[in-house]
């Protein structure tokens, strides 16, 4: 059991931006919300999955909507708690632990916020281990814990319960309701018992956000190489293999809207005179809200669900797809996703084929070995 205090929030936000792999939304506003909630109500207690009782009621929470709307229409203070209260009312009992459904981006803060507002406990785990664009892209769905029943809440105090038998269909219908709620709705879903949570959730991801953020912040303060330090830190976690794929400058950026997604490709080229110059052809990264695949010439370097993170070379600040721009000096990192996200069942839901990519999944560590043999 650990306690999340005001001092932890900036680190968690920074780590969540890293795990967002370019998407998930900027946690800035969610962090301000959470800071107020903890300042008013005190620290939040966070259990590990192992500390949950077998019959504990766990529900996952977060928001559904568009990040571009999120920066303008901030949530009502009671909106996220109302989604949890509505689901509790429907189930006839209070939640024993709140869990993030998405550790990457702004949703990482929601269980902390709601736990602080309602005086609940949270659990250190999530369903994505990073950010993904759709609700059903969670290990909960992969391993048979259903999204239903689900509660959505607007800022008006309106709530709705959806009881939909298929998670992809639930995503489709919930998103339609979210649009009518002004593209910003709070959600509580995937109610499950503690025993199930241990089986289907990715453990330790909130504390991992905190560790990543603290590591990056410390590197800045101590003026040491942030990338080497982070690689070393991640080696001791279930995200074990991390490496710098490339260092260079954004030389091309193509972005367009396709079916509501920010789809595009960013090209990063090495620069002459660069201290940590990367050899070889430019690195091309394809994105659909999040970074999906990194390719160099004909060689695949990393692919979803492994994490591809673009960071500002100077400050090691993770950069979201919305903030990518020509001329930025960046360092690209690849991080292996935890084993629970790499099974055949998981890859069917959020592997390359789920995004229409032509390649099969190859773990980043295997791609690295290949690179060393040929490169």
């Amino acid at each position: 059991m650990i306690r999340i205090t005001l001092d932890d929030l900036d680190d968690i936000a920074l780590g969540a931006t890293f795990l967002g792999t370019g998407g998930g939304g900027d946690p800035y506003i969610a962090t301000l919300m959470t800071r107020r909630a903890i300042a008013a109500n005190g620290p939040v207690t966070m259990l590990s999955l192992d500390e949950l009782a077998d019959d504990a009621l766990v529900m996952s929470c977060g928001n559904l909507g568009a990040p571009t709307v999120a920066i303008e229409k901030i949530m009502g203070a009671d909106q996220p708690p109302n989604a949890v209260l509505a689901l509790e009312k429907h189930l006839g009992r209070p939640a024993d632990a709140l869990m993030a459904f998405e550790a990457g981006g702004s949703n990482s803060m929601m269980p902390i916020y709601i736990a602080a507002m309602l005086g609940r406990t949270m659990v250190d785990a999530d369903g994505m281990g990073r950010a993904f664009p759709e609700l059903q892209m969670v290990t909960f769905s992969v391993y048979g814990a259903p999204s239903a029943p689900m509660a959505l809440a607007s800022e008006h105090g309106d709530t709705t319960i959806l009881d939909i038998g298929d998670d992809a269909r639930a995503e489709y219908i919930a998103r339609g309701i979210a649009i009518r709620m002004g593209a910003r709705s709070a959600m509580a879903a995937y109610p499950m018992d503690g025993k199930t949570a241990r089986r289907v959730a990715i453990p330790g991801t909130t504390s991992l956000c905190q560790a990543i953020g603290a590591d990056l912040a410390q590197s800045r303060a101590q003026n040491r190489d942030p990338f080497a330090a982070l690689i070393k830190m991640l080696a001791g976690t279930h995200y074990g293999h991390a490496r710098v794929l490339y260092t260079g400058k954004v030389t091309d950026l193509v972005r367009e809207t396709r079916q509501g997604y920010a789809v595009g490709q960013v090209t990063i080229a090495a620069q002459t005179g660069d201290r940590q110059r990367t050899d070889g052809p430019p690195l091309e990264i394809q994105f659909q809200n999040e970074f999906l695949a990194a390719r160099q010439g004909s060689a695949l370097r990393a692919i979803v669900p492994d994490l591809i993170c673009i960071l500002d070379s100077e400050m090691a600040q993770p950069i979201t797809t919305e903030r990518l721009r020509y001329g930025q000096r960046v360092t690209v990192m690849a991080v292996s996703a935890p084993p629970i996200m790499r099974t055949d069942k998981a890859l069917a839901v959020f592997g390359p084929s789920a995004f229409g990519l032509p390649e099969a999944f190859v773990p980043v560590e295997a791609l690295d070995e290949e690179e060393m043999r040929h490169g």
Binding site: T68, V69, E72, K73, I74, M75, G182, E256, Y261, E322
Partner: protein
């Protein structure tokens, strides 16, 4: 100080003035040609400094005040007031959004010292729009009226009103203003849609800062007007904005916050006009820092990230600058191997060796090398490490240029600012060095050649419009705003277009931001 052939054609001459914290510069311009220039000390009275600098160039140019067609002025007075937390007035902050946005009330992330100066009089009332233009909740005039009476009771004279999605539709902010006016007829009321973009907290912060500057704005602009009167000028006075375009004094009096960062923008625009280059890197070497930026099509590239001003997040249109702790006053140590970031700043004339002081500065090194004429060269005749120091300064600038340069293309490097002679040679980092004459007053020149602009920043639903129709609508709106701001319709062109798809939502909405600029009507010929 400097003099070229003055045009005798009436109505073509302009005065460019830059009122900085230390110096007030004036230039007399005939089109893009510098006729005369002068630097004066700003001192305590702005009016006196402007009269001294502008009076000197009129005299040097042999020009009667009546021949001046327009006066353009850039100022750092308002930026400095926020940074120094001085001369700000308290503000009543009204947000129209309830029941949305209650999770983050206004001024939640302000530094305590600034919040204390501005006061924490915040009100969150019903109103605001959804992304598609539907109201979040109806505006409640009785509620606003009660708030207005409370504001009056508190004796507050400045109000900032921010409504959710007001950049899409400003109606709610306008209606709330009308209700407030009934109780507060003389209040300085700032409407957020007039100064900011989408991004509620950043736009609201800018509106609050603007309202906090309203008292100072009245005084400063009065001082500017008095200087114009004292000089006997009958030409209209325009004030520089952060994006390199102009506004009228009446507009600046209402929106002083729009002058933020106009200094670096003016200096980059000045560099563009002096050099005749559209795409280039600009290196502006001052006394304490060197600002490095990128010109694209004659305008500074804008910062993509939010910009903090005095510790407050805003989303102003600001030039994307890299500031290096290197300037003429930078301290030199370790036999030339270490430069800055500390500087003697405005005390150069007391503390530098060439002026008989006891501090080794980069200017001393440049004078010793014969690159710069300043003070008494004999005092630095036997300095060690001259070459080392100047090579180190060049390497620092070269490294910074490498970070700003957008691609492998070798762009020319325009060198301006008082410290320009610090950098010697013909090229740097593979780019040719261009040293325009009058580069030391690029700031005032940039003010004098500023254009008039208009912007559209809206979310379009592509269910009802094709993308091409949306782009046309945004372009037309930006052009219409430029014309309304005083641009000559024949010269208006689009200089920037940015599209951000609304990710995570079907329904195909996209946010378009288009910027149009044109020459001041009846201005340049």
């Amino acid at each position: 100080m400097n003099r070229a052939a003055a045009s005798k054609k009436p109505g073509r001459l302009r005065l460019g003035i830059d009122v900085g914290g230390t110096n007030t510069d004036a230039v007399l311009m005939d089109g893009d040609v510098v006729v005369a220039w002068h630097k004066a000390t700003t001192g305590r009275h702005i009016t006196d400094a402007i009269v001294a600098a502008a009076g000197a160039v009129l005299q040097q140019g042999g020009v009667a005040p009546a021949q001046i067609h327009a006066v353009m002025l850039g100022t750092t007075q308002f930026t400095n007031a926020v940074i120094e937390r001085r001369r700000l007035n308290p503000v009543a902050v009204l947000r129209l959004a309830a029941p949305a946005t209650t999770a983050v009330p206004p001024m939640s992330d302000w530094p305590a010292d600034l919040a204390a100066v501005v006061g924490s009089h915040t009100y969150l009332a019903h109103g605001g729009l959804e992304f598609d233009g539907r109201p979040i909740s109806a505006l409640n005039e009785a509620e606003i009226g009660a708030i207005a009476r409370e504001i009056r009771g508190l004796g507050l004279t400045a109000v900032a009103i921010t409504s959710v999605f007001s950049p899409l539709d400003a109606d709610m902010e306008l209606r709330a203003e009308a209700v407030l006016r009934q109780e507060l007829p003389d209040a300085a009321i700032t409407l957020s849609h007039r100064i900011g973009r989408i991004g509620l907290l950043e736009r609201e912060n800018a509106a609050i800062l603007n309202a906090a500057l309203s008292g100072l704005a009245a005084q400063v602009l009065e001082a500017f007007n008095r200087a114009i009167d004292d000089l006997g000028l009958s030409a209209p006075l325009y004030i520089s904005q952060n994006d390199g375009t102009l506004m009228t004094v009446a507009h600046a009096a209402q929106y002083p916050v729009l002058t933020f960062a106009s200094g670096p923008t003016n200096s980059m625009r000045g560099a563009a006009v002096l050099s005749g280059l559209g795409d280039a890197l600009v290196v502006d070497i001052g006394g304490t820092t060197t600002d490095i930026g990128l010109l694209l099509d004659g305008f500074p590239r804008e910062a993509a990230m939010t910009v903090e001003l005095g510790g407050v997040r805003t989303n102003f249109r600001m030039p994307d600058l890299l500031a290096l702790g290197l300037g003429g006053g930078s301290l030199v140590r370790d036999g030339g191997a270490s430069i800055g970031p500390d500087s003697v700043g405005f005390e150069l004339r007391q503390r530098a060796l060439v002026f008989g002081g006891d501090t080794l500065t980069l200017s001393d090194m440049a004078v010793a090398a014969g690159n710069m004429t300043l003070g008494d060269r004999a005092r630095v005749a036997r300095l060690d490490g001259v070459e080392v120091a100047l090579a180190r300064a060049a390497a620092m600038i070269e490294g910074a240029l490498e970070r700003v340069r957008p691609s492998a293309a070798r762009l020319p490097v325009i060198l301006v600012g008082g410290g320009a002679p610090l950098l010697h040679g013909e090229s740097i980092g593979g780019g040719e060095i261009v040293r325009p004459s009058h580069g030391q007053v690029a700031n005032a020149i940039g003010a004098s050649i500023a254009m008039v602009g208009g912007e559209c920043d809206r979310i379009f639903s592509l269910d009802d419009l094709s993308r091409a129709e949306a782009v046309t609508a945004a372009t037309d709106e930006a052009k219409a705003r430029a014309a309304a701001a005083g641009a000559d319709a024949a010269t208006i062109r689009i200089v920037e277009m940015d599209e951000i798809p609304l990710s995570y939502m079907p329904g195909n909405a996209t946010r378009l931001r288009v910027k149009a600029v044109g020459d001041l009507a009846g201005g340049r010929t």
